[in-house]
Amino acid sequence: MKKTLLNPFEKYNEAQLLTFGVIALVLCAYLGYFFEIRFDNILHLSTAKNITFLQSLLENAVNLLCVFVFLYPLGLIINKKTRFIDILNTVVVARSLCCLMVLCTRAFDMAGINETIINNSTNPYDIQFTPVQLAIILILAFLLIGILIWHIALLYNGFKTATNLKSVRDKILFAVAILLADILSMILIPLLN
């Protein structure tokens, strides 16, 4: 079970992974539209008003493409036999975790917490959360960090399986590619609006 969650790329064939990934992508876009969440960049969410389903889908697609555009050429440099579909599946399956992130963000009542922060935005030292609010913040933080780590683990394991990644140099290049993808998505997403 642990292996399936952290590295489904070793077990499932490309058709199964792609089907799962595409369904998750559409679901993610729908959840973003329904819960008014924007996908600012590959690893970040924020609240938004009046977002349409198409906008949400487009943002998810752009985030996905930003990662793909860096990982696929890197994959080919590391291993000439790297397949397009394996890198695509890596990116799409990893992206599916954004559904969880949206649900976690909306599972807790953040309205009171947001109001406290906004009312004390001029002097952050005056912010005083109730014990319940603090507990919510902590739980949400742990959940989101956990999901983020899982997301990176999926990207890494998928890329490793697709390219037979071994050397330290290639692992560092992978990390650099993800950072560059994040920067690119931060540039491209605002252009969609």
Binding site: E10, T161, N164
Partner: protein, 93 residues
């Protein structure tokens, strides 16, 4: 019937083993010498099985993946690792 595992490394110092004696089961003739193991026999049982499966599937990695219940890139990676290992063993000869 229990088939004993063919040893390829020394249990004492983990160095590569050589064949020093072969015998004929029908006429009891024994042949002694110093024969290094062929490259294929210097692989682990699992690796030898993998190569056998590859051969039996006529080199179709897709079919192998389907039968073994693992993904195509995983099978390909194992094959690539095995190819590198065999090349290393050949260069040591």
């Amino acid at each position: 019937m229990l088939i004993p595992k063919f040893p390829i490394t020394c249990p004492s110092c983990e160095g590569p083993l050589h064949v020093s004696q072969l015998s004929c089961p029908s006429c009891s003739t024994k042949v002694s010498g110093d024969f290094p193991l062929p490259v294929l026999l210097r692989l682990t049982q699992e690796e030898q099985n993998f190569i056998l499966q590859f051969f039996l599937f006529s080199g179709s990695l897709k079919e192998m993946a389907s039968q073994m219940g693992i993904s195509y890139p995983t099978v390909r990676n194992r094959l690539d690792d095995l190819i590198n290992k065999i090349k290393q063993l050949q260069s040591q000869e």
